[in-house]
């Protein structure tokens, strides 16, 4: 009987991941978290209870067989373990780093009830890094179906859909508007959280699956969706163009110099490598005092990048309180460890410039929290007469991104919501035959992994569609 077995001793604390010390890392763009050593990975994997009915899998948007890969890992079968992950996820080195595991698989882990859950993300990262160091093996592909699929956008959704469709034997071409593949992984998430060489390696893996990558093709301009289907010989299209449009505050002075959208700031730094100016051509100017407006992961990324670019003081200004901050807890902690200040319950009301048109001050108003709004979070209400001034050289506006409108406006008959997102069924099918969509372009700004999950579902639906088509 089960009760007679000796109970395994449960280690309540997770093995911590080695990190660059805050004092060191705030001066460089190298990765903050250094990853588990083999010894640490095994120690952490051994904490897993190997539940007969693993809950963790239910928390994974791409349905990785987590419990099995952890078992293989602790048996030392790293090769089989990473293969197990890659059955479901073609981008493990990325997911192991940027997935909000605490909200997904790790939230479901039963160990979490008595202590810290198994660090599934760190183990995934360990295996992905182990594999990359040895060179990828390309999995077997299904025989060619003779069908061609165009993928629009080389972000997490598009790359995932491309990999899955290629494995199923379809000919896949990705059209990416920027000059590098990766979407938000290259233009949005900073080097210190996700090294670009890792994104490149994962993109190379997808190319090894036979996927063709066309860079600098803005679909909607260079070709339209109907042209891809009717003139360019594609049997189906997947749209994964993301939410890449910046939102501004709409307050006076916003067009002064020194005020960046988070997108501009991060594109300059990440995609164009402005931190290496003038070796790279694209410049960035940072100044001494930086204010970042917003409380999400993008705000954290922008603030921590500003610090690394040499800002003396970086202050995050958020209109709600710490509890409502949408950023990952880990990222808030990382930012604060590095010396970033969070100013809660305040919102900018105007920017004041100098005679050269450069921002010098930001006027803010204090907020207090009222009853919850539609989002379920308590609505911030301005406190009358509580305005105050902050001296700043740079402001970065990180209050969210909206969907790219170009495809919607150039594709007749494509159903779109009032927010500009594309309407699909639960499998990513749009109102047009043979046209599928997924990721932020459907849901609005969300996570890398949810976009990957959507890419995966759509790939399945596209495969079914192509196989049933005469």
């Amino acid at each position: 009987m089960a009760e007679s077995k000796p109970k395994p001793k449960v280690r309540k604390q997770a093995v911590p991941i080695p990190k660059q010390p805050p004092e060191v890392r705030k001066h460089n763009f190298n990765e903050v978290a250094l990853g588990y050593t083999e010894e640490q990975a095994l120690e952490e994997a051994n904490r897993c209870l190997q539940c007969p009915k693993p809950q963790c899998i239910r928390g994974c948007p791409v349905e990785i067989d987590i419990s099995t890969f952890i078992r293989l890992l602790r048996e030392g079968k790293y090769d089989e373990a990473i293969k197990k992950i890659k059955e479901k996820n073609s981008l493990p080195a990325i997911c192991g780093r940027v997935c909000p595991q605490e909200e997904q698989c790790q939230k479901m882990c039963v160990l979490g009830k008595v202590g810290e859950p198994v660090s599934i993300g760190r183990l995934e990262r360990f295996l992905a890094d182990w594999e990359r160091a040895r060179g990828f093996t390309v999995p077997e592909k299904a025989p060619s179906t003779g069908k061609r699929v165009a993928i629009v956008g080389a972000g997490p959704a598009g790359l995932t859909a491309a990999a899955d469709l290629a494995k199923l034997g379809h000919e896949v071409v990705i059209f990416e508007a920027l000059h590098l593949a990766g979407g938000v992984l290259v233009y949005g998430i900073p080097e210190f959280r996700l090294p670009k060489s890792i994104v490149q390696a994962e993109v190379d893996y997808i190319k090894k699956l036979g996927v063709e990558l066309k860079l600098g093709y803005l679909i909607g301009r260079t070709y339209t969706i109907p042209e891809l289907l009717k003139k360019r010989g594609f049997d189906a299209v997947f749209i994964g163009t993301g939410a890449g449009l910046p939102q501004f505050l709409g307050i006076p002075g916003e067009n002064l110099g020194g005020i960046y959208s988070a997108n501009e700031f991060l594109i300059r730094v990440n995609l164009m490598k402005a931190y290496a100016f003038p070796e790279y051509d694209t410049p960035i100017r940072i100044g001494r005092h930086v204010a970042v407006i917003g409380g999400g992961n993008v705000a954290m990324d922008a603030a921590r990048s500003a610090l690394r670019l040499g800002a003396e003081q970086v202050c995050i200004v958020y209109r709600r309180s710490r509890e409502e901050m949408p950023a990952r807890k880990e990222e808030i902690e990382n930012a604060e460890e590095e010396g970033i200040i969070c100013k809660f319950l305040a919102a900018p009301t105007r920017f004041i410039g100098n005679e050269k048109g450069w921002v010098k001050q930001m006027e803010c108003i204090c907020m207090e929290l009222g009853p919850p709004d539609e989002s379920g979070r308590r609505r911030p209400v301005p406190v009358k007469g509580s305005e105050f001034l902050m001296d700043i050289d740079t402001a970065i506006i990180a209050i969210g991104r909206t969907p790219n409108p170009i495809i919607q406006s150039t594709t007749e008959g494509l159903a779109v919501t009032k927010w500009g997102t594309i309407v699909t069924d639960e499998n990513g099918k749009t109102s047009l035959e043979g046209v599928y969509a997924g990721g932020d372009i459907v849901t609005g700004e969300a996570t890398v992994i949810s976009a990957m999950g959507a890419g995966k579902k759509a790939a399945r639906a596209i495969h079914e569609y192509l196989m049933n088509k005469k």
Binding site: R221, F248, G257, Y260, E264, P278, E279, Y280, D281, G357
Partner: protein, 278 residues
């Protein structure tokens, strides 16, 4: 990689590149632009399309060798390649029979203006053209534009050829009736032309090329105030109602990165940035 098929020096430090880009050539229309990246470390530079030929699979663009990237582009020869070109971007110009159209072009933008005038001419417009530059040596495409124009004027800042400054336009506008004005050139010129046409109520379209990074609506650095509303040069433009643009703000925004641009350009002239790359 995009191969340069021919290089033409239009004026000192102003070059016209014809490149092989069949997919862009097929889609390009007057008024649109491309983003050019010279190499892996390059910046993304917006340049207005000056010619396209879908049959030959070519497009052409002109540039003025003023900054680091344009100076570097200027060293490229026929047969060399640029790393990436994305396009066509931005909204095409509205081209139809307006009637009498006043076309004012200055500096390097004379090149895309020729394309514009060709299209306006073909759709039956009567074109009155003005080309201008700082000094007469920087003028080009005079004969080509003259051949398509009902009337043709030249202006230079120093008066070395044609009229000195654009002041004469006031008289032209007082004497003749126009249904539309199209202006392409430096921002102060666009501002002047818009100020001149406003009292006559002539619809005036100006082409704006603010600082851009992606050129596809993602970064918002190209934001301009038009009629008090925030617009993006890349996706809402590049053409705007000249009477509604906040030119003072635009001029300040164009100078935002001037010190960095100067540094980059200087280092380039001194033989690279110190990283061992020429």
């Amino acid at each position: 990689m995009y191969e340069i098929l021919s290089v033409r020096e239009l004026a000192p430090k102003i070059k016209l590149f014809e490149v092989h880009a069949p997919e862009i050539a097929e889609k390009a229309r007057p008024g649109q632009f491309i983003m050019v990246i010279i190499n892996e470390k390059g910046e993304r530079v917006p340049l207005t399309i000056a010619e396209y030929d879908a049959g030959k699979g070519t497009i052409a663009f002109a540039f003025n060798e003023v900054g680091k990237t344009t100076k570097q582009l200027g060293t490229l020869k026929e047969g060399d390649r640029v790393w990436n070109i994305t396009g066509p971007l931005g909204n095409p110009s509205e081209i139809r029979n307006f009637g009498r159209v006043l076309c004012v072009a200055g500096g390097v933008m004379i090149a895309p203006m020729l394309l514009q005038i060709k299209a306006l001419h073909e759709t039956g417009n009567t074109v009155v053209a003005v080309v201008g530059a700082r000094i007469k040596e920087l003028l080009f495409f005079k004969e080509e534009i003259k051949a398509l124009s009902h009337k043709f004027y030249v202006a230079t800042d120093d008066g070395s050829e044609g009229y000195k400054s654009l002041e004469f336009l006031k008289d032209v506008l007082a004497e003749e009736k126009f249904d539309r004005c199209v202006a392409m050139g430096p921002v102060p010129m666009l501002k002047t032309v818009s100020e001149f046409t406003k009292p006559f109520g002539i619809p005036t379209v100006v082409t704006l090329m603010p600082v851009m990074v992606d050129g596809m609506g993602m970064c918002g650095v190209c934001r301009v105030s038009v009629g008090g509303k925030m617009k993006f040069g890349c996706v809402d433009g590049p053409e705007f109602d000249g009477h509604l643009v906040d030119y003072e703000e635009l001029i300040k925004r164009q100078r935002m990165f001037l010190p960095e641009e100067r540094l980059s350009s200087l280092l380039w002239e001194l033989g690279g940035c110190g990283c061992g790359r020429k």
